[in-house]
């Protein structure tokens, strides 16, 4: 097949690879510019990743946090959405290579390809300790969590049953903390009346962190509060212990084995292979080292944004790998492309940190606005309202708000479904 028509030959061709927060924001920011845009993603949907753990823990449905990319661009005739997988970049001939053999010529390329989880050289751990980046990851994790309780209900050997009711989460960043808190509450508040042979209150949720505290990106006092809150809802927090083994039996940390049937990896990520495509300099996690204007060194026509890049803020600290940072970069690149088309020189990117948020459990969250720090119930409400605000579309906002209010009032989860297989799954 042929390359899709990109319209009049004279229009400046922008190809954006990846429709996550950075890529999508760039496409939105280019509205009205004299360009033809091709937005490529190997998924058909944009995903609101900050709430992905809620799909994994049966609180939200997949469709509440994902939107067809194509539909988000329906009022933009100059944007062509491609559901395709990129396999490389031919920078000399200014073409993006697709896995199916097609090529996409560009005048300006924007790489917003994101990250996958990384196992620090232990890729063999992945089948035992899956990570959480895609909708499929989330439904797989949901299945594993729910099946663990189902198997425990039918297990008569107390040792095996205890292992089935032990959940080890590796990495205590926001995702690890949010997963641990939600699984603990699932076991403590939602599931007890539904089981006959097990007491789900006896579920162990163990959060293992190699560093000295949970939520390392937050100030010390919020980290301490988060740890206290987790412990109050029954999470065992293990600090300063690196995991040295993940297997079907469980996890080994600090030389001690923990028998656990469900492991979740929230410890590390690795950038997608954009740096390899370009043979460009990258940090240890594979993130492109970009110029202050977010272009790739020696490639002024190639921008990179979001988790694909590493860049410092005005104080020399690395810009965090969070949605607002990716969106700011996407917006900045859109403005830079417009500036260049007007003959102006783009300005360097300046990151502005609005704040950091993490939910710990029902009615608890921590928020770091820099000067103002919040925690507890008020922070939880702000956390919830902020996340609903950033969802796309009134329908999903309404739907998520109802799901959360329901969970708050009734301790029920809307999406406790084991799919992708029968009762044999996970055995």
């Amino acid at each position: 097949m042929n390359t899709p028509a990109l319209g009049p030959e004279d229009a400046h061709r922008v190809v954006i690879v990846g429709a996550g927060f950075g890529g999508l924001e760039c496409a939105l920011g280019l509205k009205g510019a004299p360009v033809k845009i091709t937005l490529v993603d190997r998924r058909n949907h944009h995903l609101f990743q900050p709430l992905l753990y809620q799909v994994a823990t049966a609180s939200l449905a997949t469709s509440e946090i994902a939107w067809p990319i194509r539909h988000l661009m329906s009022d933009r005739p100059e944007v062509t959405t491609l559901f395709a997988t990129v396999s490389g970049v031919d920078a000399n001939n200014k073409r993006v290579l697709l896995e199916d053999g097609d090529t996409l010529p560009y005048d300006t390329l924007v790489l917003a390809t994101g990250v996958r989880h990384a196992y620090f050289g232990h890729d063999e751990w992945e089948p035992f300790a899956p990570g959480l980046k895609t909708l499929e990851d989330a439904t797989t994790l949901r299945r594993r969590i729910l099946v663990a309780f189902e198997r425990a209900e039918r297990e008569s050997d107390p040792k095996k049953r205890a292992a089935m009711l032990t959940f080890a989460i590796i990495g205590a960043g926001p995702t690890g903390v949010e997963l641990a808190g939600t699984i603990a509450e699932l076991a403590r508040d939602t599931l007890p009346p539904d089981f006959r042979n097990i007491d789900t209150h006896r579920t162990r949720v163990v959060l293992i962190e190699a560093g000295p505290r949970v939520l390392a990106g937050f100030p010390d006092d919020l980290s301490a509060y988060a740890q206290r809150s987790l412990e109050e809802i029954g999470v065992e927090v293990v600090l300063g212990q690196a995991v040295t083994e993940c297997s079907a039996d469980g996890v080994v940390y600090g030389g001690k084995p923990l028998a656990a049937r469900t492991l979740i990896w929230a410890a590390g990520v690795r950038a997608s292979p954009a740096a390899e495509w370009l043979h460009a300099p990258a940090d240890r996690a594979g993130r492109l080292q970009v110029m202050p204007d977010l272009t790739v060194p020696d490639h002024p026509d190639i921008f990179a944004v979001g988790d694909t890049v590493t860049i410092a803020d005005s104080k020399g600290n690395p810009v965090p790998g969070i949605a607002p940072a990716a969106k700011q970069q996407g917006r900045h690149v859109a403005a830079s492309i417009k500036a260049r088309l007007r003959g102006e020189t783009p300005r360097p990117f300046r990151y502005s940190h609005a704040g950091s948020l993490a939910q710990i459990g029902k009615r608890r969250a921590v928020i770091d606005f820099g000067k103002v720090k919040l925690r507890g119930t008020i922070a939880w409400w702000i956390w919830g309202i902020a996340h609903i605000y950033f969802l796309i579309g009134l329908r999903n906002r309404l739907s998520v708000a109802i799901s959360w209010l329901w969970a708050l009032a009734r301790d029920q989860r809307a999406a406790r479904l084991i799919t992708q297989g029968s009762s044999k799954v996970g055995r």
Copy 2:
């Protein structure tokens, strides 16, 4: 592992296999009876099958029409829910055999194991023409339908593109009619603004029926109205033509091949192997021929309900394989078990037909209440309200109502997600 505890030895043990409409209703009907119940299903969820086609066509989320069985029984301490697959029945020793080697002893057994699609001796057609019975079937079908449009968007060969934009639905019962109408509206109303290279109005939806009319279970005039309505929204209705071939290229009927990339099987079902487990008499579709009180011949302690059985109504016509019939049977069996425990003789089952409903598209439906026949917009509203009424739980009722009103007002679908794979899926 051991058999789960069934409580005091003196309680009458009821095992119900299958938590569809019949099995669930039987468990609900046994509330208050002096019995210990084990409810076994190989899925963890009860499914509202009448709306499954709406999940397949991206209108509803999976969690809107499915509930964890365990949770539906949470206030019933005498009910044990088992997530397990049944492999047979040892009627001599009154035990249900599970695939994992376990056994469940019973005093009374209720078989409510439902149906799967059947290909009339052509099982090799299944990969090309999947059917629609489970949540996984629905998400698979959704993916195929959405991927077909994605592939067409990137295809430059007009012949191949036409095949990608052709959907053949085999069988014009309620499921076939509802799928055809919804896919036609998806192509006509929802998708057009989102695509650049294809005109989704040119999508062909071909509904192929071997019999002389659509909705054969309805009166002639409603069948004729349904056919007219389908044709008005662009569905091509083919009657009196049997399908003789399904392949990756398409479908052959009446000796003519139709190039179609997406085939959907809505033509036939076969009962699950309950009759084989018992070596009991069954009809050609594998349905158990039960006694008037719904017991299996020569097995007075084994009842069977729903799609698992074939039984005649008071006029000698077969009771239809629909949810209300299964529920009535489940309720009847619960009453019979209670009667026996009181020393009374159970009465024969009498089916009472409340009516038949089918949706044809947005704002159109047919309803046959026997004396009263309805069609058009008023029928559509009654259809919608009836279905919302029969959903379980206020939360899902609210959620489905919002999804439908949104679809009505905006022509948008909430769940246009391609999951279970990347862009390579379905290629």
